[in-house]
Symmetry: C2
Subunit: 157 residues, 2 copies
């Protein structure tokens, strides 16, 4: 049970992107967070494919959020990077072996699958309730103002 590490990077990128008014290049985002540039580019492509960011090509190009920060949920980012598939996949064990239940009697999912699906739903619901704007508000509250100003300045240069 492990979520892709790219999710953390992507969320940090969304927070930064929301603060910057102009497009930010993948190289700058990678340097700011001290992560692999080529690999971060792949995560940004996933965000782009999911419609969360828009990329502008050419010189002075880069990435921009497509929506306001309070209209992008953490779940949006998680599903863009990690996929929307649930962690548990029922393989219909009950239909196998010498005491197999015939397929035509298996109209409802087995109770194990239902339990897992239910847990998956509350997990996603919990992530849906938090937006990028919430994260930003939290960052602004807990980190020193001079660091925030410094980062904004570094990004512009």
């Amino acid at each position: 049970m492990k979520m892709s590490g790219g999710v953390e990077w992507a969320l940090h990128c969304c927070v930064v992107l929301s603060g910057a008014g102009a497009p930010v290049t993948a190289a700058k985002l990678a340097e700011l967070h001290d992560v692999s540039q080529s690999y971060l580019a792949k995560q940004l492509q996933l965000l782009s494919r999911a419609g969360l960011v828009r990329s502008t090509l050419g010189q002075s190009g880069g990435y921009v959020l497509t929506r306001a920060a309070n209209e992008i949920t953490v779940l949006d980012v998680v599903e863009a990077i990690d996929g929307a598939q649930p962690a548990f996949r029922c393989t219909e064990v009950r239909q196998r072996g010498p005491m197999a239940v015939p397929a035509e009697r298996c109209d409802t999912p087995c109770p194990i699958a239902r339990t897992m699906d239910s847990a998956d739903r509350v997990w996603r619901e919990s992530l849906r309730r938090v937006t990028i704007a919430d994260l930003i508000a939290d960052v602004n509250r807990t980190t020193a103002p001079e660091i925030l100003a410094g980062a904004r300045e570094w990004l512009r240069a």
Copy 2:
């Protein structure tokens, strides 16, 4: 994001074990579910190490549940097989790069980690609320009585 496939097998085994009065061997459990015997043996070892089942050695040995079915939660099994580590691991990105926040200012976890931890908690809480006894009750309600009796008989032989 993928849970170990062994979780599904282990849960099915717990359901079966609860119905059988006598110890059941790993070979029988594997044949009943039509899965690899050697690999299922490893999952059973994990259950044993977690204290959910007890193994009796020697001829006519096998596995038995250590507690009543209503005192074993689905979460117990999931954590025994898949580990108790949360899916998201914060790598403290904020402490890296040219605009790194000094470690001494990072007394509280970053908002991203808090969001993920919160979602992880509700997920686990949801799984903790369902016990093996609940699964059994569901199985008894939804599957034909003759199949249940047949399985019990097959297990005894």
